[in-house]
């Protein structure tokens, strides 16, 4: 069939992927738009930059779409382009690319939120201490914590934890070996755990020690 810009007959499958050949780029872009925007917001931690990134990504993707061979991979394809555009924008602005390996320079973080909660016991009368702690956080609180995570470790976390990519897929999107991806993912999660605890203390969500 001849696909047109406004053709919206084809729908994605349960995974958000597209399996029909010959679909118009506009349809694909619309279906992936919310996810792509969410990725860009978390990647940049800035909504204005995220909007620029989404538009630049779609422009580049529009040009490259005729060469896309496997439409079932369209979501990871778009996220790969967004990652590359973000890197390019960073270089243009003189920012250190987020994907430069800092593994050797970053100390291992052994903080455990689970153990810290058990030790500090901020809810002494709770039967669900750990879950009660997580219930303190609104979406915007978690987003604030995410923004504080080192971008090198944040990107794998976004891809694997929020967008459901496998570690292998996330490694391909970020163009790093799987072992590097797993190491960064682990450190990203440790920074998330520490960030949630620090945020809770700083904003008075929990009180510990001698405080009532």
């Amino acid at each position: 069939m001849i696909a047109t810009v406004m053709d919206a007959q084809n729908q994605p499958d349960a995974d958000g992927d597209v399996d029909e050949p010959g679909r118009a780029f506009a349809d694909v872009a619309r279906e992936q738009l919310d996810g792509l925007y969410g990725y860009c917001v978390r990647l940049t931690s800035d909504r204005t930059q995220a909007e620029d990134l989404v538009q630049d990504t779609l422009l580049r993707a529009m040009r490259a779409y005729p060469g896309l061979r496997d439409e079932t991979k369209v979501k990871s394809w778009l996220f790969t382009i967004a990652t590359n555009v973000w890197r390019d924008l960073g270089r243009a602005r003189g920012r250190t690319p987020a994907t430069v390996s800092l593994d050797d320079a970053v100390r291992e973080d052994d903080f455990s939120l689970f153990a810290t909660l058990a030790i500090e016991d901020p809810f002494p009368y709770s039967d669900e201490l750990h879950l009660d702690f997580l219930r303190l956080f609104r979406d915007e609180d978690v987003q604030h914590v995410f923004a504080q995570i080192n971008p090198v470790f944040r990107a794998p976390l976004i891809l694997a934890t929020i967008h459901g990519f496998s570690c292998k897929e996330a490694a391909a999107i970020l163009d790093v070996p799987l072992g590097t991806l797993l190491s960064r993912l682990h450190r990203g999660r440790k920074q998330l755990e520490r960030g949630l605890w620090d945020y809770a203390l700083r904003n008075g969500l929990v009180k510990v020690g001698d405080e009532p």
Binding site: G22, D34, L113, H186
Partner: protein, 85 residues
């Protein structure tokens, strides 16, 4: 059998189905005998869900309008309405 620190180190990879088969079996054997790590695994699962749900976004209307113009009007010198294969 692996100890608790090693089990904790593998925990998130286990949730991501990123552990090799042997490492998974060792981890699950540890869980069978360790109530504490079962608790931390459950907590990690909830933490992962919290992070995942907080990341949902909807494109703001002004951006959506700009993108519709981009998709409808080309903007790259190519015709997006042209069949791509």
């Amino acid at each position: 059998m692996i100890d608790c620190p090693e089990a904790v180190r593998r925990m998130w990879a286990y949730l991501d189905h990123a552990l090799a088969r042997g490492a998974t079996e060792e981890f699950e054997t540890h869980l069978d005998a360790c109530q504490r790590c079962c608790g931390e695994l459950e907590f990690s699962r909830h933490l992962k869900e919290l992070a995942a749900t907080s990341g949902a976004e909807s494109v703001p209307d002004p951006l959506r309008r700009r993108i519709e113009m981009l998709l409808g009007g080309g903007g790259t010198g190519t015709d997006p309405g042209t069949p791509h294969d």
